[in-house]
């Protein structure tokens, strides 16, 4: 009894505090770097101190380190989920567990998801087990076009989830921005212009910034949060779907060249892809939207990403408005579907390497962090997954998952529930005693 308790306690501790980053080599891999290239057989990855030291077909294995023979299995960087609300919601429909929006408080741009991220949330554990290792986590807006500051998180089984807090500001534009601004696109545009004036005021004289009068549009905290956006130190992610709305934003970027604009969603992006490419604005697009779900998505097509990429736009896959608090795992399936399009006459998809990059290196590049995350190039974080097949194919599982060089536990509520109910009938004791 005591021994069992001790074992259980040890297991719990192991779960809470995974081993420190190991020095490990994975050999004999069907290796995917994540930079857009195709897999190569016979590859090796070496991870040390939480980072990739080397990856490729001719990499030497240092003596005396742990070696995992992948036996020809696929090895790749972990999936970098391009746009999610993971870790800030446990059950969407249960308000107390849903920290996506600001509620009725007066803060908007100042909202920071960092204190809401719960590394123990179920979606993090489930997505980790499927090879998702990093994610863009964005707040949702309410009462303002500005939703607040999002973070980059890792999905490791430790309590230190936020890799980069306040990594970007998130803004709603188009129909949802119009609604938040009072009901129309011109209202949203006026609100945005006014905010820009106010931030300049704030930058000139922070101490005398007036955020207390009844006609003030911006709190001090909101203004402070927007300064690095205006100065181009923090990317501005903007949810925008309609082609004309994108062009309005591209014009704004001409007026404020420092803005690091990123489009999110971008359903009609393919119709203005040359302009987006020329402006150097990267996109986190929804992969398979092909329905005119709204009047700002009339040109929806699954070829959107392929056509934008062909026009020279840097495109990553994200999951805005697609169960984004829990189904980042679907990005692999979405990327696979983009490969499928290459066989459909008239459609434009991505080849396998580009599709895989759209869920690994491209999201990192879009956020300006391609040197840190998203591929197995030397120096990147040691986020590595060994798969039992093609990671974009249905049914492929993650066999080993490393985050920052730490091998991760793959158990979660799914694995526990299914283990209990593989035989649904109750035995000598009720199911509640079966673990």
């Amino acid at each position: 009894m005591t021994k069992q308790l001790l074992l259980a306690a040890t297991a719990a501790l192991a779960f809470a505090f995974p081993a420190a980053a190991q020095t490990v080599a994975i050999t004999n891999a069907k290796l995917v770097i994540g930079d857009g290239g195709q897999p190569v057989d016979g590859g090796t990855v070496v991870i040390r101190d939480g980072r990739v030291v080397a990856a490729g077909p001719g990499v030497a294995v240092p003596a005396g380190i742990r070696v995992i023979d992948a036996g020809g299995k696929w090895v790749s960087p972990g999936i970098f989920a391009g746009f999610t609300r993971m870790g800030i919601v446990e059950v969407d429909g249960v308000d107390q567990t849903n920290d996506t929006g600001p509620g009725n408080v007066g803060f908007h741009a100042a909202i920071d998801v960092t204190p809401a991220v719960n590394p123990k949330s179920t979606p993090i554990a489930i997505n980790r087990a499927e090879g998702i290792t990093r994610a863009v986590v964005a707040p949702d807006n309410s009462g303002s076009i500005f939703a607040g500051q999002g973070a980059i998180i890792d999905l490791g089984a430790d309590m230190d989830a936020v890799s980069k807090p306040r990594a970007f500001q998130f803004m709603e534009w188009g129909e949802s921005g119009a609604r938040a601004a009072g009901g129309s696109r011109p209202a949203a545009y006026a609100a945005l212009k006014n905010v820009l004036f106010e931030i300049r005021d704030y930058i000139r004289a922070p101490a005398s910034f007036n955020d207390r009068s009844k006609d003030a549009f911006l709190t001090r905290a909101d203004a402070e949060a927007l300064v690095p956006v205006l100065q181009g130190r923090t990317p501005l992610l903007v949810h925008v779907e309609r082609a004309s709305d994108m062009l309005v934003l591209l014009q704004l970027k001409k007026e404020i060249p420092a803005l690091k604009l990123v489009f999110v969603g971008a359903t009609e992006g393919w119709t203005v892809a040359p302009q987006i490419a020329a402006a150097g604005v990267p996109v986190i697009a929804t992969a398979l939207n092909d329905l005119p779900e709204s009047f700002e998505q009339l040109a929806a097509s699954q070829s959107n990403i392929g056509r934008m990429a062909a026009a020279g736009v840097t495109v990553a896959i994200g999951t805005i408005n697609q169960d984004e608090s829990r189904q980042a795992r679907w990005e692999k399936q979405y990327a696979g579907n983009l490969v499928a399009l290459t066989k459909v006459p008239g459609a434009t998809g991505l080849d396998w390497g580009a599709a895989f990059a759209a869920i690994t290196s491209k999201p990192a590049e879009v956020l300006g962090m391609g040197g840190e995350f998203g591929s197995l190039k030397p120096g990147r974080r040691g986020d590595v997954v060994i798969w039992d097949g093609d990671p974009l194919e249905i049914g492929t599982s993650a066999v080993n998952v490393f985050i920052d060089g730490v091998e991760q536990p793959l158990e979660n509520r799914w694995t526990r529930l299914r283990q209990r109910y593989l035989d649904p009938k109750e035995g000598v004791l009720p199911k509640a005693y079966q673990r």
């Binding site: 097509s301 696979g336 499928a340 459909v344 049914g395 299914r418």
Partner: protein, 476 residues
């Protein structure tokens, strides 16, 4: 989008009076029974909006050198399928079968042929694209019992989603249901996935109606928030049982009148539907997530003498697979939706596979205008989850989850859902193995008529809504 409407959409809506409270006259006020009534089931029309669907012309076609899943668990390699005059003629295990004169021959080397995909749970047409309020016609959220409404009266035949489901999903038959705000949300309608000017011209000929019922969070939240019953799960069941008790009385009056004549009892459209359920002519399609609630509903069905055809969104069905099997009730599930609401918290990807292993009737469903375009992939996911925990599930068996099984739960298994001779020639030619993410429909026939051809832009439907819009006629 639809899901968020269903979960969170219950905002406005007045508490309209419940028309189902109209009572039949008491027996004592009726005149003495006449010698003969109009006859069983003839007291009123059961089909006032009859199907005007017709199959489009199609050439006799032989698909040759293909892998065939017949939809009932059969698999044929390097085989051929012949259909003619809208019907399946035969599967030929020997691909050298002579086509005969006038037969279009398609060489499908490396490709797969299956029966058309059936989605038992869709809201296309009643929650169409664009999802604007003006077109939002899926939930009559003005009373917890609206068995009198018929989803077909909300179906907008110009929903662009029908075309996507055909071209990207190979969907040839689908059931359109009212939403789940209400305990008894109204009648469903089964459609052939062929665009038409009217709903009637899409209606699947001879398919039974369904009654959409709902357990759990949605009805209690929608009506509890309006300060009316039900506001709890016990309230849900109480309102259900009271309504079934009234339906039994209604049925008695109409049965007696139809047999013996006299003055006709008052008509009550909600009760007509429930009487149809008690007669077995309308099938109960019951939204229900939690295992314990499904068990209660199956007892309630026994109490009032009806049968639940299928539980939909049955995320906890795996917990009571044995009970479902014993009750001959199917479960329609997603592959891997989870956690978006409390009653979905215990979803597992092995749900469908566990149900199937235990011998319960199980199937995939979409409930989603995007998901319906990839039901083959959803089945592939559900199968893979089972295989991962040691089950042996063949591809041809898993294909029953979107073919013969939903056909059975819809009461149309004698007409479609497999490639047996004489059935409707609802057929998909896939450009590869449909269990792969890299595969898409290449050609889709409905009743033997070619309605989609990936290589021919003229065989790609464009709804009225999309004419003259950006992207008209695009591959989508």
């Amino acid at each position: 989008m639809i899901r968020s409407l269903i979960i969170f959409g219950a905002l406005a809506g007045l508490a309209a009076c419940d028309s189902s409270t109209t009572r039949a006259q008491t027996a004592s006020s009726e005149p003495a029974p006449a010698a003969s009534g109009p006859g069983k089931g003839k007291g009123y029309s059961h089909d006032p909006f009859p199907s005007t669907y017709h199959a489009y012309p199609g050439a006799p076609t032989l698909l040759r050198d293909v892998t065939i899943f017949d939809g009932e668990g059969g698999r044929f390699e390097h085989a051929a399928l012949l259909f003619r005059d809208g019907k399946i003629v035969s599967i030929f295990a020997d691909m050298s079968a002579a086509p005969g004169a006038g037969v279009t021959v398609i060489d499908g080397k490396g490709k797969y042929v299956t029966p058309g995909v059936i989605d038992i749970h869709s809201h296309l047409g009643d929650y169409p694209s664009p999802g604007v309020q003006a077109n939002s016609d899926g939930n009559e959220m003005t009373g917890p019992v609206t068995a009198e409404v018929w989803a077909e009266h909300s179906v907008w035949p110009q929903d662009p989603g029908f075309g996507r489901a055909l071209a990207n999903g190979g969907v040839t038959t689908l059931q359109i249901l009212p939403g789940s705000a209400n305990l008894m949300g109204g009648r469903s309608v089964v459609l052939k996935n062929v665009y038409a000017r009217t709903m009637q011209a899409m209606k699947f000929p001879g398919a039974p109606y369904g009654l959409k019922m709902a357990c759990g969070e949605n009805p209690k939240r929608v009506y509890g928030s309006k300060g009316r019953m039900p506001s709890t799960r016990m309230g849900n069941i109480a309102v259900d049982r009271q309504t079934w008790a009234r339906a039994a009385e209604y049925k008695r009056r109409w049965d007696r009148y139809e047999e013996k004549g006299g003055e006709a009892p008052s008509r009550d459209l909600a009760m007509d539907t429930l009487r149809g359920v008690l007669e077995g002519e309308i099938l109960v399609q019951n939204h229900c997530y939690r295992a314990d609630e499904m068990a209660i509903v199956m007892d309630m069905a026994k109490e009032f003498g009806y049968h639940v055809s299928a539980f939909h969104h049955a995320v906890e069905a795996y917990k009571i697979a044995d009970l479902l099997k014993a009750n001959n009730t199917c479960a329609a599930v997603w592959a891997d939706w989870y956690g978006f609401k409390m009653e979905a918290y215990d979803a597992v990807p092995e749900n469908l596979a566990i149900l199937d292993k235990e011998g319960a009737c199980a199937m995939i469903h979409s409930d989603d205008a995007n998901g319906i375009q990839r039901l083959n992939q959803e089945v592939a996911k559900a199968r893979a989850a089972g295989i991962k925990v040691g089950m042996n599930i063949s591809e041809e068996h898993a294909w029953t989850w979107l073919a013969i099984n939903p056909a059975k739960a819809l009461g149309i298994a004698d007409k479609t859902g497999s490639l047996k001779p004489g059935k409707m020639a609802d057929v998909v030619l896939w450009n590869g193995n449909p269990f792969s993410v890299y595969t898409r429909p290449e050609m889709v026939w409905v009743d033997g008529a070619l309605m989609y051809d990936a290589k021919d832009p003229k065989r790609r439907p464009v709804s009225d809504f999309e004419l003259g819009q950006p992207g008209e006629g695009d591959v989508k």
